[in-house]
């Protein structure tokens, strides 16, 4: 007989007049990996909070091990034995691994801390997982994968009943994700339940026992393992089919960007050529190379060996002049790349100002930008305060700013991470807009996400080396195997 760990029964939660959870029902069994595929972000945050704490709800019941812990009549505000693992680590960075796992734990009652004893306990925990983590290492020095493992171990030591894994593929590499899946499977055999929240069904299919599909704060379908098929999901997702863009110029030897035997601390003898107008994805399987790549382009580091050519010119030597032709769009750009105190149009023209001469009257330029971009952006272009705009409008702002600036190359860092299906669909359209303007697009990613939808070519980098290259014709094979 299955043991039920958590059950949310017809939960409706209203926050500030907005129904964040609407008649939401879900049950999770002991030792089960329940997937939660969120078609949009509506209600996701509230749901995670509700799992962790018995906060007031408008209607419904919440059961923990079949005992009612929260209902519409009375919410105790008590905490449930639930751990959440997400991008923002909940570990104390300045403490060691063993301190985080054992000492900052509810059950720890000792007055003297014997680090040898704690290290031995850690070894016992990690022995079966085939993972080695130095217990005396500061959490600050750990990789995102190691932090995840430490958080899982901390949750196990704290005897939680449910571990919520939230959008993990956004911040750990594909190779590490496989290891995390192994760990999750190991602990499900020990009776721990997992709620695996992600945006991509391909990812959820690989690990989950059942999947609930959530849209606008309500479950619209629960899929059993026998229903884990692309055609079943297709009914719920938007159409991501896409028209391939032909290359604007003939393939040349130097292309627009060429790396010739480049080596840095993490990059090993990397060589490739990117043609003008191409869209190339760099998939960093171990999440070690991307930082070096960005720093090389920014001129923050110099290659230990090899040369970079931009439009056939040595890039490192003429960096000052060429750097302005390459733009970056950072990860989660609506949080990190906008000036909240500036108006929409000021934000939009922010990069373009670089190209204008001092004597150009700004008002006239903004007027003509509005004339050109209003049909693409809509009424939001007149917004004086961007804080209240929708994420879609803010993504428009980030991407059309680059569109207006028209660099030769735009480098997108993990463009699809943290975006729900609707936003990802919109981002694909925005990347298309950049490509229509013949801007070369380079996508740096640690997980494949929807990158292949827009790409002409995929380069897989493993342990700092370029392992494989795939052209768009081979993407369907890749989707099934990566």
């Amino acid at each position: 007989m299955k043991q039920e760990i958590f059950r949310l029964e017809r939960v409706t939660q209203i926050i500030d007049g907005v129904t964040v959870l609407d008649n939401f029902s879900m049950h999770i069994f002991k030792g089960e990996i329940m997937g939660l595929l969120c078609l949009n972000d509506h209600g996701k945050e509230a749901l995670i909070k509700l799992f962790c704490q018995n906060v007031p709800i408008h209607y419904g019941h919440v059961y923990l091990e079949e005992n009612m812990v929260n209902n519409y009549e009375h919410s105790s505000m008590s905490y449930n034995p639930v751990a959440v693992i997400e991008r923002q680590s909940r570990l104390v960075e300045n403490l060691t691994v063993v301190d985080n796992i054992f000492v900052i734990s509810k059950g720890f009652k000792g007055y003297l801390i014997n680090s040898n004893f704690l290290n031995a306990k850690l070894k016992l925990l990690t022995k079966d997982l085939n993972i080695s983590i130095d217990g005396n290492e500061l959490v600050f020095n750990l990789s995102p994968f190691e932090k995840c493992v430490v958080e899982i171990l901390k949750a196990i030591v704290a005897k939680v009943k449910l571990i919520v894994i939230r959008d993990i593929s956004n911040f750990i590499s594909t190779a590490d994700l496989k290891k995390i899946h192994k760990i999750i499977r190991y602990y499900t055999k020990q009776g721990i339940s997992f709620l695996y929240i992600c945006n991509h069904h391909e990812e959820a299919f690989k690990i989950c026992d059942r999947i609930s599909i959530m849209k606008n704060g309500k479950v619209i379908k629960v899929l059993n393992k026998s229903e884990f098929r692309d055609e079943v999901i297709a009914s719920f997702s938007l159409d991501f089919s896409h028209i391939d863009f032909p290359l604007v110029s003939r393939e040349s030897e130097n292309g627009i960007l060429k790396f010739q035997n480049i080596s840095t601390d993490n990059i090993k003898n990397l060589s490739f050529t990117i043609q003008k107008g191409e869209c190339v994805v760099f998939l960093d399987m171990n999440n070690t190379v991307l930082t070096d790549f960005i720093e090389l382009i920014n001129g923050e580091i110099k290659p230990l060996s090899g040369q970079i050519f931009f439009k056939g010119v040595n890039y490192t030597k003429t960096l000052k002049h060429l750097k302005n032709n390459i733009c970056f769009i950072q990860e989660n750009p609506i949080q990190s790349m906008l000036f909240k105190e500036m108006s929409y149009i000021d934000n939009l023209c922010f990069l373009a100002n670089k190209k204008l001469s001092f004597w150009c009257p700004m008002k006239n330029i903004q007027k003509s930008v509005i004339q050109e971009y209003e049909k693409l952006i809509g009424e939001d272009i007149y917004a004086s305060d961007i804080k209240n705009l929708t994420p879609k409008s803010l993504y428009n702002l980030v991407y059309y700013r680059v569109h207006l600036y028209k660099p030769d190359i735009v480098i997108l860092i993990q463009p699809f991470s943290d975006a729900d299906m609707y936003h990802r669909h919109h981002l694909v359209q925005l990347i298309d807009q950049l490509r229509k303007k013949h801007i070369t697009v380079i996508i740096l990613a640690v997980s494949i996400s929807d990158c292949l939808v827009v790409a002409n070519r995929l380069m897989v980098i493993e342990q700092g080396r370029l392992q494989k290259q795939y052209s768009s014709e081979k993407f369907s094979y890749l989707r099934a195997n990566l």
Partner: protein, 361 residues
């Protein structure tokens, strides 16, 4: 209830606040709190100016004042909010049980009023009405079921004599189906009986749908024999399967599949009836889920010709009346994908007559 009338009533209420005793009491309490605070501050200022040590004595009233405020919050404000919320949910139809099990009634008289309402509500009568409705929906046109059953037995006999096995089998299935619907209506039945009735029903429908319709039953438990002995209200599954066939699969091009999945936990029996039919529109799903959440028996006397969904509401209401509002039906549906109906019941492994023990009110 008409939402416009409700809003109008809310507006009138806001305009005539002084009519309600609660607001009068609230104004007086707030006035007393403000006055006490003012007196305390006044005394503090006087003692401070007189520079005597007597002002230390004011610590006691300060603590008493803060204690009273805390008591006001814990003993009055929070219980009032809870009671008020349950009453609002009762008015909107979300809960009936909550109202009858009110933890903090406003006064003993109010408690008596609630008990009186509970007696008037007379759940037995409502139960009878829903049972009749279920019977009606199951038999569709019950003029004389015993006569019908006997006639079917006659047809079966004649068919066997004539060597028409398929007619005999169909007549037998029909007879079994009707007999199940008519007999022992007041009792809980075993899951085995209920599933057997579904198989009969499926057999009958196969004559119409042929290979277009398929049915599978999955029992997700190591001890299947024990699960089959669990009890549930009679005719819980048949109306749901009927809905799946007629509102899901019949309108779909090509083959359709109905799957019944049974899962158990130490306290619950979870049955999911899924079909891969045409599903339903979001508005229709919302409407149906709203009816499933709101406990109302309006549908019993409804002459509305649009019967789809009534059977489901009936089953849901019967479950809620028998076992409490934490049990019942959940529907998940997507247009052109299919519908899942999840029925949650308590795990009952008892003999007949258990129905009264499990009633909540």
């Amino acid at each position: 209830m008409n939402i416009e009338n409700f809003m109008l009533r809310m507006e009138n209420r806001a305009m005539n606040k002084n009519k309600y005793l609660f607001y009068r009491a609230f104004y007086i309490i707030v006035a007393l709190i403000v006055l006490s605070a003012y007196l305390l501050i006044f005394l503090t200022v006087i003692y401070c100016n007189s520079q005597s040590f007597y002002f230390l004595l004011l610590i006691v009233p300060y603590f008493a004042y803060l204690g009273t405020l805390y008591l006001f919050y814990r003993w009055l404000f929070i219980p009032y909010k809870e009671t008020s919320k349950i009453m609002q949910l009762f008015v909107k139809g979300y809960t009936v049980q909550g109202m009858f099990e009110l933890q903090y009634p406003f006064s003993p008289e109010m408690e008596d009023v609630i008990n009186k309402v509970k007696a008037i509500y007379n759940t037995q009568e409502v139960m009878k009405a829903t049972k009749k409705q279920a019977q009606y929906l199951a038999l569709q046109n019950q003029i004389n079921p015993h006569f019908l059953y006997n006639s079917l037995e006659g047809i079966r006999g004649e068919a066997i004599l004539a060597g028409l096995d398929s007619i005999a089998e169909m007549a037998e299935a029909l007879g079994k189906f009707f007999r199940y619907a008519i007999s022992n209506y007041n009792n809980l039945v075993t899951l085995e009986d209920e599933l057997s009735n579904i198989e009969d029903y499926y057999y009958i429908q196969q004559y119409r749908f042929g290979e277009r319709l398929s049915l599978s039953i999955e029992i997700d438990s190591e001890n299947k024999d024990e699960v089959l002995k669990y009890q549930l209200p009679k005719l819980t599954l048949q109306p749901i399967v009927e809905n799946a066939i007629f509102h899901g699969i019949e309108k779909k091009m090509g083959k359709g599949h109905v799957r019944i999945k049974v899962e158990t936990t130490p306290k619950r029996l979870i049955i999911t009836v899924s079909d891969d039919g045409i599903g339903m529109k979001e508005e229709r799903l919302m409407e149906l889920n709203e009816k499933l959440n709101v406990q109302s028996f309006e549908y019993v006397k409804s002459d509305d010709e649009k019967k789809a969904g009534i059977a489901m509401i009936n089953v849901n209401n019967r479950i809620k009346l028998l076992f409490g509002e934490q049990y019942g039906i959940n529907i998940f549906s997507t247009e052109n994908v299919g519908t899942d109906v999840e029925i949650t019941l308590p795990r009952i492994f008892r003999t007949e007559g258990a129905i009264d023990e499990t009633r909540n009110f």
